[in-house]
Symmetry: D3
Subunit: 223 residues, 6 copies
């Protein structure tokens, strides 16, 4: 569901920048005679990559941070308005301070997300800017993240609007169920076979077996 | 300001399709393994054209209706997911019934917009679909349009969410003031000259002069 | 040769839609003031992918069915007029019924292609529509497919024009020989070595060895 | 109807290059490991421009000749595989001799088209190449052009396949009628008014009035 | 020749940014894991527009200043990495201070170019940055511009490399002569007619007639 | 650093084609009314691929030679002005003879580059054309290559300008250091671990160990 969450993140962030939603009153993507907004995305995996696709298509200036060069190259290839950079803390701080919209998308399977964006960095952003943290399900990759729901999706820290709904794809159940069933059906068919444990993705997905935590990342969390 | 209104229309419509905003729960633009949403735009002028630019970039299937062939060609050139069609009532009805998002952008200078989209057509749309009427300032080009404000921007008719804020660019004052001053400055400089009436766009803009309504469209309205 | 066959399929289908070739008289890709044709492609591998590249570039609305998510993502990335979907029978039936051109490209190495498109689905298409089955060499992925040659390439079933030439690349020998020699030369050089069986693609290509059928798919067919 | 004729020209030329239609056996647009075909278009107006759009999208190397710089710039903007050149006879001869497909699209309203491509130039083309002359309705812009019909659309001169059907849009009546009615409706509505002669495009369209030829181009032809 | 000069400006500026040519050692357009350079262009006419086309295609972040909204819209349409802005002096100063390459392209027919970029603005640029002034033939639009030749094309002011060759198209005589003859031939043919003064572009081009300066812009200069 | 070298190669080649740098006076990428230059690239790996990206974006006609089909497909996907071909000597000779700019990018890890472009082929090029050999660090892939430095970067053979600086990325230290540190940091962190030899890329990079040459390619060179 990361691809959906990434796209929701950009769509929600775009509308939250409207003054009517509390934002600074900026049109992401700009106009022929006006500046284009700046989007910073932390993490260029599936979630961050899908967020970048929509932000780039909308015409914003997009910066994606990732440690992996292949991902940076894939992000750069999305368009000439996308820059890929290695997440040195000082560069992250500089780019966050200039951003109109920051999207957190650091997802480590089953592990807590590191706080790549600190409270200090957030405090340097312009009032009315927006942050969306897709990593909220794993603790968030921003120090100021706390989980919210669609009933009350946003809160403010230092004048910055935060959107950190824990189940972002819940906003688009039609699209989600269509994409999900396409993604799961091969595994469902495999699960129905007696030798299902020979299917590596299924085997790797086992968290607890015979009463013992066996997933490496979970073991580390509970150690 | 039509270009801003057009872009706001697509951005607002995109978010209203989220279930959390009352919509049918659809991700406009779709996903690699899910259907793409359908956007129908009535009018391919500045407002409709800017709405189409964002909808096309987001990956939706876009149909634009206009009577002018040059405008249809310009719309078609926005991308291979944009179709331009002449607004025969039966074709409009068919396309509206299939649409997830309908944007009204029929703007006749100073005149009331015609009701291109009837209540009957709206009633054929799927529940949870969205209509946005940029023409609301001139009475709206949909029979079901009634003006709203950003305090309470939407209402429902027959299960269809309507967004018809009268001053749409008010959501993005930063971008708007930047674009507006760039657009107006040449005229301000011209107005400061004693011979300003020789500037045709200024002269054409006079609505009332020496106590008499002189703008052709207004005269017709008040006749 | 699958890439050539895929491109021939779209080119042949485009011309067969002309009324002068018996088709419904439709310009695939449309015009600024006319609808764009719909192309449905069964299978997003090399053959289907190449068919999709040309159909997307020509401006048609393209739907590609595949079970593999990576392939669907690659297809979606061809353009905003391409939709990728999982081949649930009811969705395939719906899309085929709306299509102007259906291209079958289900290729399982050495195995018979399944009948993804049934006679019933074909019968729901509009008269004068066209189907092209690249899978014909492996029995065809449409129930109505029967092999033809370039001497007499088409036949009609229920008003639908069928094109199922068994050796499609035979239409473009110049291009084919150029591409083929580039593809084969590395293997020819490997075959000339005494240890050629250590070259995995060559080893996997052996169908019959020392009088016994050893290729897994063939064994299944002859079992 | 020039836009339709231009698109038909490219589509027909593409298929005629197949060996099964008598052509040299070339895949226009090529493949990842094969050369791309060369298309030369004489005239970059509506007909030639639409031919160029499809040829460029298909991936061919396209050269368009025109005397008008704005048209050359519009053609160049279609893609990095399109070159625009002034039609000096020696340059036309050189490009025609290298072309796989030559499309004639020199349309002067109501006047005979000049013979930009001579029989000598055609004789320098490679056997199995194709020429399509959209200008055939006005005498053709190639010396070797003679009108044909869809019953027997092609003939050969010096090994080169000629396609010069006089009513090319007749192949796609569905698309044509849709586009035509959109284009004509405004004039039909104007014609129904008593002051229709004040509509300049209608007035300019009068060929014969009160028994006298009054259209300038026709007068020249009959002088 | 403005289109050639604009393209030469970007090409020369790109190489002057190499350290081996004295520049700051920056790759315009960047890399997957490195920042993209910033180009500021003063004037979005033919010269500036062509400079922008190449800078945008190379992947730089491009800002174009112009007073004309249509030009700004055309520039914005070149790509999502192009921003168009009205040339308020403070905005020009801010953007110049951030730029790696500034291209001056303010061309008023026959008139002196205004100094849009002041010495003060240039002094705020980073050492090793580059400015190219295409307007040099009309006095230059930067306060620090002085004419140079290809024998000694550059000089430094405050650590900024200046390139202001008076006849930039002289670097590409092959391309220039081809483009020039295509552009001039229609006028040459018109000049050869006795009624050549009825050709407006020719008539407007007369600077001096019967011993009197008659071109409006020149009259102003010599007044 | 291959990606930087590839981009420098195209940028340097573009400027060397200016007559002011000794070239034939051609604008790579052309103009709306002038021919586009031809670039031939030997090798479609990282270096050649990056050279191709910039050459394609600039609007040149680009031909890339490679033995690997996946690389040819990746090159073809860069744009419709890119052709990928297998390096048969006669085809290489033909394309080199037509080229305005030839870029050598044959890089075999640790091994001498083969002479794919012979002195004979170079002698068939038009005077004032340019060759850039990125492979110079490994002996060069052109028979006429000899190493140069940025102090004196070019020399002429048979009227053809040669650019073969051994450390091309040295021209852009800012960009290079940024990209390099992003690329190396993961390995630096790995090297600091006691079990660094379990990191395959590091282990594979060992050339000499305990006084013995152990890298396979180097062993072959010194055998």
């Amino acid at each position: 569901m990361s691809d959906i969450a990434g796209r929701i993140a950009t769509q929600a962030g775009t509308c939250l920048l409207h003054q009517s939603h509390g934002g600074k009153g900026l049109l992401l993507g700009g106009l022929p005679a006006a500046e284009r907004g700046r989007v910073v995305i932390i993490g260029g995996g599936t979630a961050g990559g899908n967020a970048a696709i929509l932000a780039a298509a909308a015409g914003a200036e997009v910066v994606v941070f990732d440690v992996n060069r292949e991902r940076l190259a894939a992000m750069r290839a999305l368009g000439n308005n996308v820059t890929g950079l290695y997440p040195y803390p000082d560069i992250v701080a500089r780019e966050v301070s200039r951003a109109d919209l920051v999207i957190g998308a650091v997802l480590k399977t089953g592990a807590r997300a590191p706080h790549v964006v600190t409270r200090q960095m957030i405090s340097q952003m312009q009032a009315g800017s927006v942050v969306v943290d897709i990593s909220v399900d794993q603790g968030g990759c921003m120090e100021t993240t706390r989980p919210t729901t669609y009933d009350n999706p946003t809160y403010e820290v230092a004048g910055i609007i935060h959107f950190a709904v824990t189940n972002m794809p819940g906003a688009v159940p039609r699209t989600a169920s269509q994409a999900l069933s396409a993604a799961l059906l091969p595994y469902v068919l495999a699960l129905a076979q007696p030798d299902w444990k020979t299917c590596k993705p299924l085997a790797r997905g086992i968290n607890v077996e015979a009463g013992k935590v066996i997933h490496p990342a979970l073991k580390e969390m509970f150690a």
